[in-house]
C-alpha cells in the first residue's frame, strides 16, 4: 500500500476487537486469574491469622487487631536454616551445571577432535533414558560410599543427569553465532580458550543467566531425590522439611495452620528473588519465542 496518512483515521475494528467479544473474554480471563490466585491469597492471608480464626473462617481477611506476625517468627525458626540449605544446594548445583554445560558445549561445537561426534551421541543417548532408571543404583552408591546425608549425594547425580540438556541448549546457541566473527578471531591467532572466554561467552550471557535461574528453581523445587538422601534434619532441604512438618504442626493447636502457611510463604522467598532477577533481566517476550523448540 502506498503511504497514505489521512488526517482522521477511520477506525475499523476487527471482529475480534469489538466490544461484544472483548467483554466475555475479559470476564473469562478475570475468573481464571482469580481462581489461580485463590490458593496463594489464602496462604498469605492465613499465614498471619491465629489457628482458631483459620479453622472457623478460612476466607476472611485477617482481623486487623489480631495479626499474628509471630507466626512468621515461629515459621522462620523451624525452616530458616533449611532454606539456607536449599539455597546453597540449588546454587552450587546450578552454577556448576552451567559451567560444565557451557564448556562442554563449546568443546563439542567449536573444537574438532577425534571422536567428538561419537561422544556427543553418547550424551544424546543418555537423554533418551529417563533418569529414574539411575535412582536405585545411585542410592546404593551413595549408601556404600558413605555420602549419605551429605550435599555431594545431591550434587553429583544432579550434575550428571542435567548436563546433557544443558550441553544441547548451549551447543545450539554457539552454533548459531556468527561464524565470521569466530573465524576472524582465529585468524588473529586466538586459541580455543581465548575464543571461548572473550567472544563466545559474552555473547551468550543471557542464556547463561537464564539457564542458571531455571536450574536454580528446578533444584530448589526438587523433592524426590533430596528426601531420599538427605535425612538429617539439619541438612535436609526445606521442601522435605515442609513435608515432614506439615504432618506434625497442624496437630499442635498452639501453633496450628498459621505457622504452616507462613512456612510455605517464606520457603518461597528465594524463588521470589529469582523471579525478580529474571523479570529485570529478560524484559519482553523475546525469550518465550526464542525458546520455541
Amino acid at each position: 500500500m502506498t503511504n497514505t496518512r489521512k488526517k482522521h483515521k477511520i477506525v475499523r475494528l476487527r471482529r475480534s476487537e469489538r466490544l461484544r467479544v472483548q467483554i466475555p473474554i475479559s470476564i473469562i480471563l478475570a475468573f481464571a486469574i482469580i481462581f489461580t490466585l485463590i490458593p496463594f491469597m489464602l496462604t498469605i492471608m492465613n499465614s498471619i491469622k491465629g489457628h482458631f480464626e483459620i479453622t472457623t473462617s478460612i476466607f476472611s481477611f485477617p482481623k486487623l487487631n489480631d495479626i499474628r506476625w509471630d507466626n512468621y517468627a515461629k515459621a522462620f525458626s523451624y525452616v530458616g536454616a533449611n532454606i539456607w540449605n536449599s539455597v546453597f544446594i540449588a546454587f552450587v548445583q546450578s552454577a556448576v551445571l552451567v559451567i560444565i554445560s557451557a564448556v562442554m558445549a563449546y568443546i563439542f561445537a567449536e573444537v574438532k577432535f577425534f571422536g567428538s561426534n561419537f561422544l556427543f551421541y553418547i550424551y544424546i543417548m543418555v537423554m533418551v533414558m529417563p533418569n529414574e532408571l539411575n535412582t536405585s543404583e545411585n542410592y546404593a552408591f551413595v549408601n556404600n560410599a558413605g555420602l549419605m546425608n551429605s550435599y555431594w549425594a545431591v550434587w553429583l547425580p544432579g550434575w550428571s543427569a542435567a548436563q546433557a540438556s544443558g550441553i544441547f541448549l548451549f551447543r545450539i546457541f554457539f552454533m548459531g553465532q556468527p561464524k565470521s566473527l569466530k573465524e576472524a578471531a582465529r585468524i588473529d591467532g586466538a586459541s580455543n580458550v581465548q575464543l571461548f572466554a572473550h567472544i563466545v561467552l559474552p555473547m551468550t550471557i543471557p542464556i547463561v543467566v537464564y539457564r542458571f535461574l531455571t536450574g536454580f528453581t528446578g533444584a530448589y523445587n526438587s523433592y524426590l531425590w533430596n528426601t531420599l538422601v538427605l535425612q538429617d534434619e539439619q541438612k535436609m532441604s526445606v521442601i522435605t522439611l515442609l513435608m515432614l512438618k506439615s504432618g506434625s504442626v497442624k496437630d499442635n493447636m498452639d501453633q496450628g495452620f498459621g505457622v504452616l502457611y507462613a512456612m510455605y510463604v517464606i520457603s518461597g522467598l528465594p524463588l521470589m528473588v529469582v523471579s525478580a532477577i529474571s523479570l529485570k533481566f529478560f524484559k519482553g517476550t523475546e525469550f518465550a519465542s526464542a525458546l520455541k523448540m
Binding site: S16, E17, Q22, S26, L29, A32, I33, T36, P39, F40, L42, T43, I58, F59, I100, F114, L119, I122, Y123, I124, V128, M129, P130, E132, L133, N134, S136, E137, N138, Y139, F141, N143, N144, G146, M148, S160, Q163, F168, M175, T217, N221, Y223, L224, L228, I239, L242, M243, F257, L260, Y261, Y264, V265, S267, L271, L279, T285, A288, S289, K292, M293
Partner: protein, 741 residues
C-alpha cells in the same frame, strides 16, 4: 613397536600376556556376582510397639545355633521367648520363659554358658535351663538379690560367666543411677550328675560390705567391660574414664577402703587418659579389648604387673573407621568384630595380625544394634528406624566380607580386563595373517595418534564424562541387570531371574492395576491440562485489545511460580481440600448444605485420584509459551481471513492452531513423560494411599525399604513405557538442531 611385533613368537608372548590380563581383569571385576548365598535375613515382627522391646540378647552356642530372646507384647502383656535359630534362618524351637511364682521382675538377660546350659535372670531370680533338642527345660531357680540390671541396647556388658570345675561363677557389675559401680561376686557350687545339674546354692554368697549400709563395693566410675583371667583368680574391669583395674575375685581387703583410694590398693593402668572408653570385649582368654573411640587396645593380666613401670604403654592394636560401640569376639579365628554406634558399619579385626580384615556397611537407619558371634557366623539384630520393626539377620563370615559393594579395585580390574580382551583379539588377528595385520596395525596407529593428539581435550572432557558414566550410564545398565536380582542393601545379591517381575505382576496384581489406571488418568489429565487451557488462555489474552491489561495479567501469572511446587501442593491439600479442619471447598459446602456434609477429597478412596487430577485449576500453566508463539502470527493473515468471513472460532482452528502446532507437540511430549513419572503431587497429597499409587511412587517406596531389586524392576518398566516418547523427543531436538546448520 612394529618391528617388535614382526617376530611371530614375540606376538605369541604378547598374546598370552593380554589374554591373561583380560581373563584376570574380567574375573576380578565380576567376581562379586557370585556371592555366597548362604546367609539368611530373618525379619521378625513383634506384635506390639517397638519401644516395648527391651530384653533382647543373642548368643551362639557351639552346636551351630543362635539363641535369641525376644519380647512379644500381645494385649499389653509382655512375654519372653527364647528361640534357637540356625544359620539358614530356620527356627529350631521357640520356648516361652515363665517366671517362678513370686518373681515380680522381668527377664533381663538370657545367655548360654556351656554347650547345654542356659541361664536367665530377672531382677530377683536366677533360672538355670538345660538346652534340649526342642526347647529349654527348667532345672533350677533361685531367688536372691541378683540385681542384674542389663540394658542390651546400651551395649554395656554387665556381667561375665566363668565356668570352671563344674562351677559357674557369675560376676555382675551394676551401673546404678549415680556414677558408682559395684561388683558383686556370686559363687555357685553346682554338681554334675549325668545329664542334670543339681545346683545347690552356696548360701555364703560372697558380698563384701563397704560400710554398714552398703553391701556392695562401689567402684566410683562406670564400668564399660570386664573379664576374668585365665586362672580364675582375678577380674579385669575397664571404666569409662579410660582406666583399667585388676581385682582379686574375692575382693579381698577392698571393703575397708575408700573407693577413691582404690588406685593405691589395686593394680591400675591407664589405657586412655581422658578419652572415653566406648566399648570393651573379653576374648574369653585372658585379654580384654578396649575401644577408645576409634582405637583398639588390648589389656592382659601381665599388663598390670608392668603398671608400676613408668614405661608402660597400652598395647595398641588397630584403628577403625568409625568408633566402635558394640563388639563381639570370635574365638575360633581370633576376630574381633566392632560395630559403629549407628549400627551401620561392621569391621572385622584380625587381632593377631593387628589389621582390619574388612569393613562393611550393613544397613542405614537402624538403632539398638546387638550382635553375637559364632564359629563362622554372625547374628545381629536391630530396630529399623523407618519401619520400627525388629529385624534379625544371620551372616556367614564369607558373606560379610562380600557385602562390600563394587569397589574401585573391581572397576579397575574390569577396565584392564576389557583392554586385555580387546588387545587379545587384535593380536589374534595379527597372528593370523600378515595382510590383516598390516591393515589392523595402520588403523590402530591412526586411532592411537589421533587420540594422543587430542589428549588435553580428553582431559578437559574427563570430569563431565566421568560424572556421566558414574551416575547416568552405569546405573542405567546396572538397573536393568539388577531387576533380575534380589538385591537389598545389607544382603548379598542373589539372582532370581523373573522373580521381581513376578512379584509385581502376579502377587501385586491389584496394585499394578491401580497403578495402570492412575497412570492412564494422569497422562490423560496432564495432556489436557497442559495444552488445552493454556492455549485457550493464550488465545484470549492475545485477543485483548487493551494492551496494558495484558501486562497486568502477565505480572499476575508470575505469582504461582513464587512458591515451591510442593508447598503449593500442600496448600491444596490442607487449605482447599482439607477436611476437619475444613479447607476452603468444604467450608463452602458446609455453609450451603449444613454441617457434616464435608467431603473427604483426599481421604476418600472414591475421590482421591480425581481430586489430585483437579489440582491446579484453572490450569493457566504454561500459557506464556503459546502466547509468545501466537504473537508471531502475522496480522495480515487475520485480516485476510476475516475478509473471507470466518469467525473467531474458525480462525483459531484454521490459522492459529497450525502455527503453534510445534509448541503443542513439544508440550504434549513433555506432558506424557511427566504423567508417567509423576510423583511429587502424590507424595504431597495422599502419600500413595487410597488408590493413588503411581509407578514412580512405588519406586520410591522400594528405595525407602532398601529393596533395590524391585526398584530397578519398576524403573525398567518405566523405561519401556517411555522409550518411544523419549526417542521422539530427542529426534525432534535433533531435527531442530539441524535446521540451524
Amino acid at each position: 613397536m612394529k618391528s617388535f611385533l614382526k617376530k611371530k613368537y614375540k606376538r605369541l608372548i604378547a598374546l598370552i600376556v593380554f589374554l591373561a590380563m583380560g581373563c584376570v581383569g574380567l574375573f576380578l571385576g565380576y567376581a562379586h556376582f557370585t556371592a555366597d548365598a548362604s546367609g539368611a535375613a530373618l525379619a521378625y515382627e513383634t506384635e506390639g510397639k517397638m519401644e516395648n522391646l527391651s530384653a533382647v540378647s543373642s548368643t551362639y552356642d557351639d552346636s551351630g545355633y543362635f539363641l535369641t530372646t525376644s519380647v512379644n507384647s500381645e494385649g499389653g502383656e509382655r512375654k519372653f521367648f527364647v528361640k534357637k535359630i540356625g544359620l539358614e534362618g530356620q527356627v529350631e524351637f521357640q520356648t516361652e520363659l515363665v517366671r517362678a511364682t513370686g518373681d515380680s521382675g522381668e527377664f533381663t538377660y538370657v545367655t548360654g554358658v556351656t554347650e547345654d546350659r542356659v541361664i536367665a535372670f530377672t531382677s530377683n531370680h536366677y533360672y538355670l535351663y538345660a538346652l534340649k533338642e526342642n526347647g529349654l527345660e527348667l532345672l533350677d531357680t533361685h531367688q536372691g538379690n541378683w540385681n542384674i540390671a542389663a540394658n542390651p541396647d546400651s551395649g554395656v556388658k554387665n556381667f561375665a560367666f566363668d565356668v570352671h570345675d563344674g562351677v559357674i561363677d557369675i560376676y555382675s557389675l551394676h551401673n546404678s543411677a549415680g556414677s558408682a559401680t559395684s561388683i558383686v561376686v556370686y559363687a555357685e557350687k553346682t554338681t554334675v550328675i549325668g545329664d542334670a545339674f543339681v545346683s545347690s546354692v552356696n548360701r555364703e554368697i560372697k558380698r563384701v560390705s563397704g560400710n554398714k549400709n552398703k553391701k556392695l563395693v562401689s567402684m566410683g566410675a562406670l564400668v564399660k567391660g570386664f573379664a576374668v583371667t585365665e586362672d580364675h583368680q582375678n577380674i579385669i574391669a575397664v571404666f569409662t574414664t579410660g582406666k583399667a583395674m585388676m581385682f582379686d575375685t574375692n575382693l579381698d581387703g577392698l571393703a575397708e577402703v575408700d573407693p577413691n583410694e582404690y588406685e593405691k590398693k589395686v593394680k591400675t593402668i591407664t589405657v586412655g587418659d581422658g578419652v572415653t572408653v566406648t566399648a570393651a570385649q573379653y576374648d574369653g582368654n585372658n585379654a580384654l579389648y578396649v575401644f577408645l573411640n576409634r582405637d583398639v587396645y588390648r589389656i592382659t593380666a601381665e599388663d598390670f604387673a608392668n603398671s608400676e613401670n613408668e614405661g608402660y604403654k597400652p598395647d595398641y592394636v588397630v584403628s577403625l573407621a568409625e568408633p566402635g560401640y558394640f563388639t563381639t569376639y570370635n574365638a575360633q579365628n581370633n576376630t574381633l568384630f566392632a560395630v559403629s554406634e549407628d549400627g551401620n558399619t561392621v569391621s572385622a579385626v584380625d587381632v593377631e595380625n593387628r589389621k582390619i580384615d574388612y569393613t562393611v556397611k550393613l544397613k542405614f537407619g537402624i538403632r539398638g544394634m546387638h550382635a553375637s558371634i559364632g564359629a563362622d557366623a554372625f547374628i545381629c539384630h536391630w530396630i529399623d528406624t523407618r519401619t520400627e520393626r525388629y529385624e534379625m539377620t544371620v551372616y556367614s563370615f564369607s558373606e560379610l566380607s562380600q557385602l562390600d559393594g563394587a569397589t574401585v579395585g573391581k572397576v579397575i580390574s574390569l577396565v584392564f580386563g576389557y583392554i586385555g580382551a580387546a588387545l587379545t583379539l587384535l593380536l589374534i588377528v595379527m597372528l593370523v595373517s600378515e595382510k590383516a595385520s598390516e591393515a589392523v596395525w595402520s588403523k590402530v596407529k591412526w586411532v592411537g595418534v589421533s587420540l594422543w593428539r587430542s589428549k588435553w581435550i580428553y582431559l578437559v572432557i574427563l570430569p563431565s564424562f566421568a560424572l556421566l558414566i558414574m551416575f547416568s550410564i552405569y546405573p542405567s545398565v546396572s538397573a536393568i541387570i539388577n531387576s533380575f536380582f534380589d538385591y537389598e542393601l545389607g544382603k548379598p545379591k542373589e539372582f532370581i531371574g523373573w522373580g521381581n517381575y513376578e512379584e509385581l505382576f502376579v502377587t501385586n496384581k491389584d496394585l499394578l492395576l491401580q497403578i495402570c489406571r492412575n497412570t492412564v488418568l494422569l497422562v490423560g489429565s496432564y495432556l489436557f491440562t497442559q495444552v488445552v487451557p493454556p492455549v485457550f488462555y493464550a488465545y484470549l489474552i492475545m485477543l485483548l485489545r487493551n494492551k496494558s491489561s495484558v501486562k497486568i495479567i502477565r505480572w499476575f501469572m508470575y505469582i504461582p511460580g513464587l512458591i515451591p511446587t510442593i508447598a503449593a501442593m500442600l496448600m491444596w491439600r490442607y487449605g482447599i481440600y482439607g477436611i476437619d479442619p475444613n479447607g476452603a471447598i468444604n467450608i463452602i459446602i458446609e455453609k450451603i448444605f449444613g454441617p457434616g456434609t464435608a467431603i473427604g477429597f483426599l481421604v476418600d478412596e472414591r475421590y482421591a485420584i480425581w481430586s489430585i487430577l483437579f489440582i491446579g485449576f484453572p490450569w493457566v500453566g504454561g500459557f506464556l509459551l503459546f502466547y509468545g508463539a501466537l504473537m508471531t502470527v502475522p496480522t495480515e493473515v487475520y485480516d485476510a481471513c476475516e475478509l473471507e468471513g470466518c469467525g473467531l472460532i474458525r480462525r483459531f482452528f484454521v490459522i492459529d492452531l497450525p502455527f503453534i502446532m510445534g509448541q503443542v507437540k513439544y508440550v504434549s511430549i513433555g506432558a506424557i513423560i511427566a504423567g508417567v513419572k509423576s510423583v511429587g503431587r502424590i507424595m504431597a497429597t495422599t502419600e500413595g494411599l487410597r488408590g493413588t499409587m503411581t509407578l514412580m511412587y512405588k519406586l520410591y517406596d522400594y528405595l525407602q525399604a532398601d529393596r533395590l531389586g524391585m526398584a530397578s524392576t519398576i524403573a525398567v518398566i518405566m523405561v519401556v513405557l517411555l522409550a518411544g516418547i523419549s526417542l521422539a523427543r530427542v529426534r525432534k531436538m535433533l531435527k531442530k538442531e539441524n535446521s540451524y546448520d
